[in-house]
Amino acid sequence: MNIVVCVKHVPDPEAPVTQFTVDSAGQKMVPAPAVVSVVSPFDENAIEAGLQLKEAHGGKVTVLSLGPLSSLEALKRGTRMGADDAVLVEGNDLPEPAPQTTAHILAKAIAKIGGYDLILCGRQAADWDQGQVGCGIAENLDLPYVSIVSKIETLEKALRIQCLTEDGYEVMEVSLPVVLTLTNEINQPRLTTVAGILRTTTMKIPVWSLQDIGVDPAAAVECGRLAELKNLRIPEVKVECQIVGGETPEEAALSLVNVLRSDKVI
């Protein structure tokens, strides 16, 4: 099974909000220099799922990213985990959030990679949290699409998948090729593999320009001009936390129960 996994390089979502500011135009989050960039967490689940399918059924896993050259680091995370190939589509200063633009470009790149059976994405990227690009890739390539998948089983030329519901899950069957977005319930991403680390040190990851994949940059930006970011801000959260203490855990517990009782919360 030939699998393409789309990954995004994002500022570490675990970094606290105090490490971020918004640029003067109110358009971009600016992380402090200490904040590292990582593979968006749900995309790591997608890499892991791809690798597990490859291990069970053969084929190969290609990790694909759109972004500046620094996104090569996200792809190397994928190859260290065990992905066979990686491709970066270099896109600088593309407007964000514009999922239609991203989906258009990634679909063109996937078409150029070719020979795919399965395209995996995370359910949403940790920066804009929109959850749209997977769907957009499917629409662009006229493929079926299933979102928020928590389990994948293979059938002959089809997949049997589970998607989360509010009280459990639904089972669906879908023909290949297909685009799936995955949720963290599906697996625990592996760290790295020795073979992956060794291959990555010598691997030359191809960098494609938009022109290389037949994308007109102006047209790509234009197709994403459907909504416009007016303003981005970090809201101030003001909660006065009253620390309830005591000499012993029992005293602290009693104090807490007492304040909650006096507030008539319990």
């Binding site: 959030p97 989360l164 089972v171 981005l232």
Partner: protein
């Protein structure tokens, strides 16, 4: 193009009834339609939906487009997309709204891409720009660290509404409206996604989103076993147990118990965050709780900047003592 000035919601069903978030969507759609001097409508897809159409009208809808078809009883994304697309192409609404539920997260982008229009998910504020008459929305970004305000340059403006962001509509049985049957012209044999089954995993008791008291645990609990203590406290307080994504990732509780940006949005009277650091993506799911109580041994944990009451201690003896106090 003549603006139709129509706001359409997708009225999601859950177990054959309107999803609990639908009255919120009705209230939002009514308000936006009034700002546009337009009409508010709902799309209803399923079987035996007649009674539900009247219910939607009593919640403030002027029109209900009802696709009542046994073949649509279970959720089939392609078929549902086709029905909603059909209504939108014929009615050309100004705004198309979904709940930020798993269904809404699935259908919203499908419709936006199909109709080649813009979409904003998980929106918490909605208004109509007084000059352009376009929808303006505010939504969290960067794991709820930031708030983004967007305006639409395309029609319909597609958006999903975060649960509990607006007050639900009140029922008024005296209201009248129109139910418009939708003819379903779908070749079901050609659908590439086939529904097989639905499996319930949820335990008995109140649902997370309806609970008045939630006792949530995070990575700090260390192991699944330790949730038993939280369950005991929840039981005594008449509440239920929740979890952070970290706890769910570790397999300690099922994902149906996850509170946060990608889990359930809750606003109970009392929310306990135990062994939870307080990442913004978690707080996005519980910040509107009336009281947040944090128990964490790390005094620097961000949760103490979001909680009303905090105990800096190992949670185990504190929770055990609370259980003692509350049973006496």
């Amino acid at each position: 193009m003549q603006n139709s000035r129509e706001v359409i919601i997708f009225a999601e069903l859950f177990d054959g009834r309107l999803h609990s978030g639908v009255p919120e969507l009705c209230s939002l759609a009514r308000g936006l339609a009034d700002q546009l001097s337009g009409v508010a409508s709902a799309i209803l897809i399923g079987t035996d939906v007649k009674g539900l159409a009247s219910e939607l009208i009593s919640y403030g809808m002027d029109k209900v487009y009802a696709a009542d078809d046994a073949r649509l009883h279970n959720y089939q994304p392609e078929a549902y997309t086709a029905v909603i697309e059909q209504v939108c192409r014929s009615e050309n609404p100004e705004v198309l709204l979904f709940g930020q539920t798993l269904r809404g997260r699935d259908l919203g982008p499908r419709l936006a891409f199909r109709l080649k229009t813009g979409i904003a998910t998980d929106c918490v504020e909605f208004t109509i720009d007084s000059v352009s008459k376009k929808l303006v929305v505010t939504r969290p970004a960067y794991g709820a660290k930031a708030l983004a305000t967007l305006t639409f340059l395309s029609q319909p403006a597609v958006a999903t509404l975060r649960s509990k962001a607006v007050s639900p509509a009140e029922k008024n049985e005296a209201r009248t409206g129109q139910t418009i049957p939708i003819e379903v012209n779908i070749d079901f044999a050609k659908l590439r996604i086939k529904y097989i089954a639905r499996v319930k995993q949820e335990s008995e008791g109140p649902k997370l989103e309806d609970a008045k008291v939630i006792v949530s645990g995070g990575r700090g609990l260390g192991q699944a076993e330790n949730f038993k203590l939280l369950e005991e406290l929840a039981k005594i307080l008449g509440g239920v147990v929740g979890a952070s994504r970290g706890a769910v990732d570790n397999g300690w509780l099922p994902s149906t118990r996850q509170v946060g940006l990608t889990g359930t949005i809750v606003s109970p009277r009392l929310y306990f965050a135990i062994g939870i650091s307080g990442a913004t993506q978690h707080m996005a799911g519980c910040a509107s709780s009336q009281y947040i109580v944090a128990i964490n041994k790390d005094p620097e944990a961000p949760i103490f900047r979001r909680a009303h009451y905090g105990v800096v201690a190992d949670y185990k003896p504190v929770v055990a003592a609370m259980i003692q106090c509350c049973t006496q």
